[in-house]
Subunit: 412 residues, 2 copies
């Protein structure tokens, strides 16, 4: 058996460091511990566990005061169990605390990916659930959840659904509470979806926030499926990727799962530390089975750098094989501060296979949430069919008043 | 009922921002969503859910190019379930991605802390298990784990235990593997501890690495207790604080739990982002029930700023009340690159109620691991009884050869 490797790519900063030496130290220190002083017989035995320096490339960047290098280390998959906690602790557990270093990417051999089911539905499966194939999807978020009662949430749900959205999601800060407990909330959400469907003929998924003790999450997800739930929202980084994986891979959880990026800002934005967004919110979320992944768009109120958002979307959708077949693709959901005037840029960046997701940009419409949804659907329709958004949008009442209100955002 | 608040302290950077306005935006946006446009009747109803700006203080620091402020926001505990994922998602979920902002601290009302059991043993309970009251504890780490078989680990354990250590911990990168699976490893560890005890008369705890699917961790911890395990090691940040809490609070897990800081370096070191070390590795670990918390010492191979390490230790040990009594204190375990020549500084900084923890500083001793442990015990003994370490250490053979090898580290 040849030694298969997971390859980790790091960006290492060091004013006067010897990057080759640093790479060697990582490759040995995080695998077999020591090497040069081992007896020959033990070297033979330990060789298959030894990390490999794949490459060391100093970054040529005149503007930086500090020197940096991109270092790639191969870790034998033999060394750790094939799950995300073991993977991350191996490649960046102790190392994350060792000076200025950022984890940029991880590349896996097919045999490693084989341990993961990935998204159960993926883009194609979600489209089948909805019967919508030829346009980006549209999602809306409750305007406010905290302190609202069941009746208020049901009415909010209904108004949003009337506007033609494909999905409605809970606010990620809505937890178990006496006013709108999970099961009751699910019940009124499903009822409102049904009521709206009788009007619009359109199926609407409800991504209900899965929260509570870690030990109860899986059962709660299974029970929600039994109760007829149509989707789950999950604060992945608050519970760990592995919790997501155990939920998504379970055969009795037969609904798509949406990953919320809450807390991701503690990890991806720093230059010298943390984990790159495309790995944190892209590759690892897909591996753990998220059917949708939310992240800040480049254009809204809470923004992420455009390059990072494109890298996330690319990672979520590109072909990715394991030995047992392809991993399904996940929907990118660029979010936060989205209104109809941003849709041309979103469409240019993220295309057909994405979800447009708005809260205030739907509820704040002068005609209410239903008109807000319609405005988005009109925008999406123009973007799919016409090359001239500026000429077309004025012909649609709801869209025109949205753009009159929020403006049309152009590329800077 | 008066509204009880969890108070979050943030450091916010903004070149030309209005910090008062930013604080208002956080207080409203992360609780009720909107305020000024609400009808009066609804304001009455929502008031108990509304966040409060507690204080806004601009940081006076001439050296910084950028302006910053310490902002304190109170979040009604009514808004979220009383667990760590809900807490963190509420106070820093979306906000962590909103520009340059770091979460420095969280203060809890007693009623909130009441939902947490905290450490089951704590410093006093662990000391009772060991029968050791009058000195810092000593822990050692396996020299290398990966690729070793059971016999090798048993021998390593035995040699370390002979040197007089109180605890031996797995390497955090040792996962389920065919050579040394969890149950077998536990068996040989316990056997070696017993064998050494027959020689030394000393009880040695074995902190075995608890890993695997999130959904199996609690059962594995319960079964380990039944099998006679004496302690658990846990990569908390890879699985989430809540997973730790559900393990430590379970009545059938009757052994102390040690929190490893793996991955913490993705979160605490950046200036403009993340979560301060004293909260990440201090307060939240104790709340979730860690009896011991490892973190990089200020002096070793992987170092943390001294102020941060002291803040962690302080948070782990200071008096902390809930309505049902006091939360037990956790042992600070400053780690990484520790050798006997560092012990005077460690003792000065962390005192009696701490654990000295070494790997290479024990195994690398010229006389082997057993002599390495003895050298530490000699150092600890001097530090507890004598004011002159430099005069005393030369009288102890093992300690002298350790310090001849690694040197005596003084304060810079």
């Amino acid at each position: 058996m040849s030694t298969e490797l997971v390859v980790a790519t790091y960006l290492v900063f060091d004013a006067k460091g010897d990057f080759e030496k640093k790479a060697e130290k990582i490759a040995i220190g995080l695998t077999v511990g020591s090497w040069t002083d081992l007896p020959q017989a033990q070297k033979e035995q330990m060789k298959k566990h030894l990390g490999r320096v794949i490459s060391v490339e100093e970054v040529k960047d005149g503007s930086a005061q500090e020197r940096s290098a991109v270092i790639r280390i191969g870790y034998p998959t033999l060394n750790f169990s094939h799950d995300i906690p073991a993977l991350l602790v191996t490649v960046f557990g102790k190392l994350s605390m060792d000076g200025k270093i950022k984890l940029l990417d991880l590349d896996f051999p097919e045999s490693f990916i084989n341990a993961f089911s990935g998204p159960k539905f993926g883009i194609d499966g979600v489209r089948e659930l909805l019967g919508v194939y030829d346009r980006p999807l549209l999602m809306s978020i409750f305007k406010s959840c905290i302190g609202q009662d069941l009746q208020s949430l049901e009415e909010q749900f209904y108004q949003q659904a009337l506007g033609g959205v494909d999905m409605i999601k809970d606010d990620e800060i809505l937890f178990e509470n006496p006013l709108t407990p999970f099961e009751k909330r699910l019940e009124v959400g499903l009822k409102a979806a049904q009521r709206a469907k009788e009007q619009t003929g359109q199926q609407v998924l409800y991504a209900i926030n899965l929260t509570g003790p870690t030990t109860e999450l899986l059962d709660k997800a299974i029970n929600a499926t039994k109760q007829g739930a149509t989707a789950l929202l999950f604060n992945v980084l608050a519970y760990g990727y592995d919790a997501l994986q155990r939920i998504t891979e379970h055969p009795e959880v037969r609904i798509p799962v949406m990953a919320h990026p809450a807390l991701a800002g503690t990890i991806y934005p720093a230059t010298h530390h943390g984990i790159a967004a495309s790995l944190l919110l892209g590759k690892l979320m897909r591996l753990a089975g998220a059917d949708f992944v939310l992240f800040p768009s480049p254009y809204g109120s809470v923004a992420m750098e455009r390059g990072d958002t494109l890298a996330i979307a690319d990672t979520l959708r590109k072909e990715w094989k394991s030995e047992r077949g392809k991993l399904k693709a996940s929907f990118p959901v660029p979010s936060a501060g989205i209104h109809p005037g941003i849709t041309p840029l979103l469409h240019e960046d993220f295309g057909l296979q994405s979800v447009m997701n708005a809260g205030g940009g739907i509820h704040g419409h002068p005609g209410g949430a239903s008109a807000g949804g319609q405005a988005f659907r009109q925008a999406i329709s123009i973007l799919q069919t016409s090359s001239s958004f500026e000429q077309e949008y004025v012909k649609h009442t709801e869209l025109k008043s949205a753009i009159d209100m929020w403006g049309l955002v152009g590329r800077k």
